[in-house]
Symmetry: C2
Subunit: 196 residues, 2 copies
């Protein structure tokens, strides 16, 4: 029982973000901030998917997997959980998909070195906390997945249109941190849910 | 250039451990310590592989990916690097493949909670250090890979036959730690390289 539970939980952690002509999310804007650009696509479909899909019509497919916390400590997690909102709120029909890749230097660092930059020097958690509960967020990891992975992380955000300012302010603050010196590719894709 | 370098590095990080009739490693012993057993296999092949292989002749295939450090800090890494040996030493023709799965409770913990158990309470790094340089080690991650993954980690060890005692002592010490309360499946497969 333990085995099958873990395995179905694992299956539900893998998702494909498919840029193309399908999906309930309409791309409203796309900007390459650092590094190589990503092909444009009119719509985005998000589907549970374990393996690279052979979707010939897709402009691009990015895979990601949700996973355990890598940096957050218990007291920080408690602070986040006390205020955060979940995905799928009807009023939060604006979204952003922000794929990021970090440098080889970042990945060669030990855990304490990465945590020092992430939190002590960059206040990553505190900056994110200021945008809660307006902005809902889910992080997907790509770096260890099979296949050529153009990004290390995909972060998905949802917010109501009146909170786009708070969202942009959060991004502005994050992009000014020492942590962002280690970002070598970043694309910012804005979307709206069908019907809006 | 940066893109293609990162992508080929990623490709070389994925491996398949194939239990069956092929490969230079002969299985000399296999023991299930915790949880479900693994089918027996006479030999082991280790091959670079990104995706689950359809090898009908294989008794089992376990996939793993090398990745960044998850717990080790810089001072600990320096201590390890000062004494550790690499894989492939001709005299180190004994090997062990130890697949492990940890509990849902382990994975629900935050980074500081896991680190506290891993090192402050279990001295995982110190126990491993005592077996260096006799025992060479490489860790592969499985938990976030696609497909049903029966284990979270595969650890591969190589040592000369005169160091099997030091290796067994290291395992005995690790298995007695608080960290091992969170291990829900563990198989210990011993092997010898062809010609020995």
């Amino acid at each position: 029982v333990s085995t099958s539970t873990s395995q179905s939980a694992a299956a539900a952690r893998h998702f494909a973000f498919i840029g193309g002509d399908n999906g309930i999310w309409r791309v409203t804007q796309a900007e390459t901030l650092i590094g190589e650009t990503l092909a444009s696509a009119p719509r985005l479909e998000i589907a549970p998917a374990e393996l690279p899909a052979g979707d010939a019509a897709a402009h691009w497919v990015l895979h990601g997997v949700t996973s355990n916390d890598r940096y957050v400590e218990r007291s920080e997690k408690a602070a986040l959980q006390a205020v955060q909102a979940g995905l799928g709120r009807p009023a939060a029909f604006c979204a952003a998909l922000i794929p990021i890749r970090k440098t080889a230097t970042w990945w060669a660092m030990t855990q304490d070195e990465r945590r020092e930059i992430f939190q002590a020097r960059s206040q990553h958690i505190g900056i994110g906390l200021r945008a809660l509960p307006a902005v809902a967020r889910r992080l997907y990891h790509c770096r260890d997945l099979p296949g050529p992975q153009p990004f290390d992380f995909l972060t998905w955000f949802e917010f109501a249109p009146e909170h786009v300012g708070a969202f942009d302010e959060m991004l502005r603050a994050l992009r000014a941190t020492p942590e962002w010196h280690y970002v070598e590719r970043e694309v910012d894709i804005r979307l709206a849910r069908d019907g809006h």
